[in-house]
Amino acid sequence: MDNLALYIVTSLIFMPVVGAIVLLFLPAENKSLLRWFTLAITLLVLLPLLGIAMPGADWLSFQVGDGGVQHVVQLSWIPSFDIQFFLGIDGISFPLLMLTAVISLLAMGASWTIDQYVKSYCVLYLLLLAGMIGVFLSLDFFLFYVFWEVMLLPMYFLIGVWGGPRRQYAAIKFFLYTLVGSVLMLIALLMLYFNSDLRKLSPQQLTASYVAAWDNGGNLLSAEKYKQQLEVSEHAVHTFNILALQQLGQNSDAFDQRLLYGKSVQWWAFVLLFVGFAIKVPSVPLHTWLPDAHVEAPTPISMILAGLLLKMGGYGIIRICYPICPDAGYDLAWLVCSIGVISMVYGALAALAQSDFKRMVAYSSVSHMGYVVLGLGVWSATAGNLFDPTAWNMGVKGALFQMIGHGISSAGMFFMVGVVYDRVHHRDLNQFGGLYGKMPVYTAMAMLLFFAGLGLPGLCGFIGEVFVVLSAWNFSPTLAAIAAAVVILTAGYILWAIQRVYLGPQYHGPHEEALTEINRREMAVAIPLCVLAIVLGVFPAIVFRYMDKTVDRQVTDLTRWTEEVKLPRLRAAEAEADQEVAANEP
């Protein structure tokens, strides 16, 4: 049964790939067959994940009490480069995997409006899905990087072929920005790889990070045996194993070598990785690709972009930046938090200034993802502050919850914009008004989702924001105050938009006659989003349930590292500086 669970985990990635290959052989004329087939594949990705989410079956269920990695799939892939096919699920990746499956299913439901080249669309859509699942599942840095890039090309075509009038410009802009980010990531990846040395880990740490080696017969070696093998090795044994890199970052001096400008390997790696992830998040000032890409993309792709692709930036920061380069993370906490707050303020102000409905929603994403960066960047142990790991823990959890909540609300908002765009073929906020009269059901659902985006208590946007702001207070009251004030701006642009679009006198703009009530297919997409928005807002524990133990564990590890490594180091530096001052005194 254990093996079955591993096959199921692997199939999450390969099911869409196989689906895409099968699609190639289906007739291109039969559009509804292609659509239903693709929908079935996305459902086949969701169902096993639901199975893992449900308690009950010990062999399959996600063990909420276990903070480590579960359902580990590990195969030797490119031994000459120490690359493994290494998958696993933990509390950080699992909620995001669920989100990916749900949003992909719903976005496929929203894809019925795509009428041109349906076959190519479906193939690319499934490849994109495989890439996204792969990013969240892989625990090998090389594999992670491959999946990270696999998404780019399908996304380029999905925006460039099926998008709006300026689609080609938006598509290439998206591609260029993300590629610049990922080549920087490649540099960091190579630096970390060539500095890593498994010989510096103890057998316990090797076991904890699932460092695996196989003997000539193909049998897995035990950690002790492997350790003995490592001991006799003359050269450093490198690794791409993300968990082992985390152990090395926290328990050894592997990444402390000084490079350019006296900064350490991990400092440079952190900066390069952070820039790469910040482009994806996106954080100001690297966000300019987002409004174009979101606006020009077709509705379902906007849903995926906002709901899922942005989350990869946040996921990368929490999975790779902080645990592998804690020292740099500590030193740069202010920078990261400031970038988060600046994104929040700038995104909100920019959203206020938009007259294009979709562009407004796009900028609201910039603003909301700022909370994620802030929550992840909050480092409660900064010199001079009260050392309080709980606040830190809360910040990370808040950021993770914000990712899930924003995934639901932004996908919902984009879908709602898409519904009305399909009918009236424009998105000018100033020409709308009074949709409530013609489409009451639609308006009710749209308002619910917009309020969720606003962060109204009781809906999914609230929990994440409040957690992040509370934890930021401990780090810097100023930043926390600004972050809290952004809520007012958010309320401003969302309420103003609701007023301009849904309320007021009846709509008399272009295509007035086309304004019909939301249809059944659209309802099928919108209702789950509304339900999720409410359920997650009222009962957030269904997400926290999965992430609690893993986040606790990661924060505990980093706290221990701070206490044992960083603080003594800072004190030593301080003492040295004092001595210098004393020595220089006349």
């Binding site: 480069f81 890039e149 075509f157 072929v161 590629l179 610049v180 540099i187 490079l259």
Partner: protein, 538 residues
């Protein structure tokens, strides 16, 4: 006395011949084709077939997995990892795993190229004997470039590879553009060769030898005794001049101007040969010369020489790469675009050399690994670039145009071609999961390794420049993809009544599928190449 000498020479020559087996087979093939032509057999049998058989035989004689070890007597085959580095013909050539590896890649490429020539119409039966002999002749020259151990052979080999290339560019009679390109190429080539010869004579005069290891030894004696000012000037001049000759073969900036014109004038098949085989041989020669001069018994003695060479090659590589990528932006002709892409890739290839120079003496195993990374890049580059040129050739045959504009709407006209070319171009960018990424990853990995081991800032800059260039190159490769997949068919576009045939399309897929699927398992390739290069620095 004389008898001993003759005896020694005979045994040395006889033993050496085995190490030269592949070259001999290719020579024999050329002779056979010429004989067949004399007896008018080539009108019945297309000599491309003969050439293919010859290439295949050469590959078998070379035996990439278990090459011949000429140091043993009797000569026997050993696995490639155990092949020692050995000098042939009293030190003129060197036979080792690195050479075997690059030669294997060249022969595989040649086989694919001959199949391509069979499937296209540019080099028909009438020209076939001339064309195949020229192609094989140039290849022998390249083989000598790869295994050179003596500056005289460097010059001879470069000329032997170049002269047939000039003729191949001009092989289509009555094609004014081809003739013009060939003239440019020949004049440029002659100039570069002259400069290089001057550099060689300076260097040999200073060091009293033309045998690379001996030269390195003399050089280390000189440097340890302290160089005088005039000696330094001479050395730097000689290095610059020799590098100019190599840069011409590599089409490195500032000796690249011939490249776009020649590629535009020559047929796509010849372009593929010049772009892949010639670059592979030239970069292998660069490795031989740079490391031959930089490596000595006591590595610490030549550290300054190595760091000077590394800086020279590194700067040229960065400039070449950036220039190639930027100049490609404005191109409207597909072959010119591929020419600039070739220039950029020559830059990436050259980037693999400075980390080797930096690592020699610090960590010889890592330096050998870097040579392996270069080999990996070559292996992937060979496949994807050949595929791109094959598409150009097929489309020229079917619609008579090589303008990017005319590729508009290709996804509707011939989906196979559009998809294959898209995959190949994206692979040339170096995006995972395509094969191009594997090569780039390896080369950049080598640079990172060199940087972390030595802390040489040049390497850090090179890593950054190389990676950013990847992002820059995205734009022009993707423009072609965009034209093919997103732009509507232009009314004025060249007509394509019949798309490429089933054979042509199968050929394309045969080249594209490995590019697409290599990521699944490239361990064997890496293991083989690493084994081949493991003995380069010992």
């Amino acid at each position: 006395m004389l008898f001993t000498l003759v005896n020694h020479l005979t045994t040395d020559t006889l033993a050496s011949l085995v190490g030269l087996g592949a070259e001999l087979v290719l020579c024999a093939t050329i002779v056979l084709i010429l004989l067949a032509r004399m007896f008018q057999l080539t009108q019945r049998i297309d000599s491309t077939w003969l050439a293919m058989i010859g290439t295949l035989l050469a590959l078998m004689v070379l035996s990439p997995l278990t090459p011949w070890d000429v140091t043993r007597s009797p000569v026997e085959m050993v696995s490639i990892g155990e092949l020692p580095q050995v000098e042939l013909f009293t030190g003129m050539l060197v036979h080792d795993g690195f050479g075997v590896m690059v030669k294997t890649l060249l022969l595989v490429f040649l086989l694919l190229l001959f199949s391509l020539i069979k499937l296209t119409k540019a080099h028909g039966k009438a020209d076939s004997p001339d064309f195949t002999t020229l192609l094989l002749g140039a290849t022998i020259g390249m083989f000598l470039m790869i295994s050179t151990n003596h500056v005289l052979i460097v010059f001879l080999a470069i000329e032997m590879a170049s002269v047939p290339s000039y003729a191949m560019v001009a092989i289509r009679r009555g094609d004014r553009k081809g003739s013009e390109a060939a003239l440019k190429y020949a004049v440029y080539g002659a100039g570069a060769a002259g400069v290089m010869l001057y550099g060689i004579s300076l260097l040999c005069g200073l060091l009293n030898s033309a045998h690379l290891p001996t030269m390195a030894m003399r050089l280390s004696e000189l440097t340890s005794a302290g160089l005088s000012g005039s000696q330094t000037v001479l050395l730097v001049m000689a290095a610059l001049m020799i590098l100019a000759g190599l840069a011409f073969k590599l089409s490195a900036v500032p000796f690249h101007q011939w490249c776009p014109d020649v590629f535009e004038g020559a047929t796509a098949e010849v372009g593929a040969f010049l772009s892949v085989a010639s670059k592979a041989a030239a970069v292998a020669l660069l490795v031989r010369v740079a490391l031959g001069l930089g490596d000595s018994v006591d590595p610490s003695l030549l550290a300054t020489v190595r760091s000077f060479l590394a800086m020279l090659i590194g700067v040229v590589a960065m400039v070449t790469c950036t220039f190639g990528n930027l100049a490609a932006f404005a191109q409207t002709n597909m072959k010119r675009l591929l020419a600039y892409s070739t220039i950029a890739h020559a830059g990436y290839l050259m980037m693999a050399v400075p980390p080797m120079l930096a690592l020699v003496g610090v960590d010889n195993a890592a330096a050998s690994q870097c040579a392996g990374y270069l080999g990996l890049y070559l292996a992937v580059y060979l496949l994807m670039n050949l595929g791109a040129f094959a598409v150009v050739a097929f489309l020229r045959d079917t619609m008579g145009s090589e303008e990017i504009r005319d590729y508009a709407g290709m996804i509707h006209r011939s989906p196979s071609v559009a998809i294959c070319l898209s995959i190949l171009l994206v692979s040339l960018i170096g995006l995972p999961p395509l094969a191009g990424f594997v090569g780039k990853f390896a080369v950049f990995g080598g640079i990172a390794q060199g940087y972390l081991a030595t802390g040489d800032t040049l390497l850090a800059v090179m890593l950054l420049v190389g990676c950013l260039n990847t992002a820059v190159s995205l734009f022009y490769y993707l423009r072609v993809v965009k034209v093919m997949t997103m732009d509507p068919i232009d009314d004025e576009a060249a007509p394509m009544l019949v798309g490429p045939g089933i054979l042509q399309r199968s050929y394309l897929w045969c080249v594209t599928l490995p590019v697409l699927l290599l990521i699944i398992g490239w361990n064997w390739l890496n293991v083989w190449i690493q084994a081949a290069t493991s003995g380069l620095f010992s």
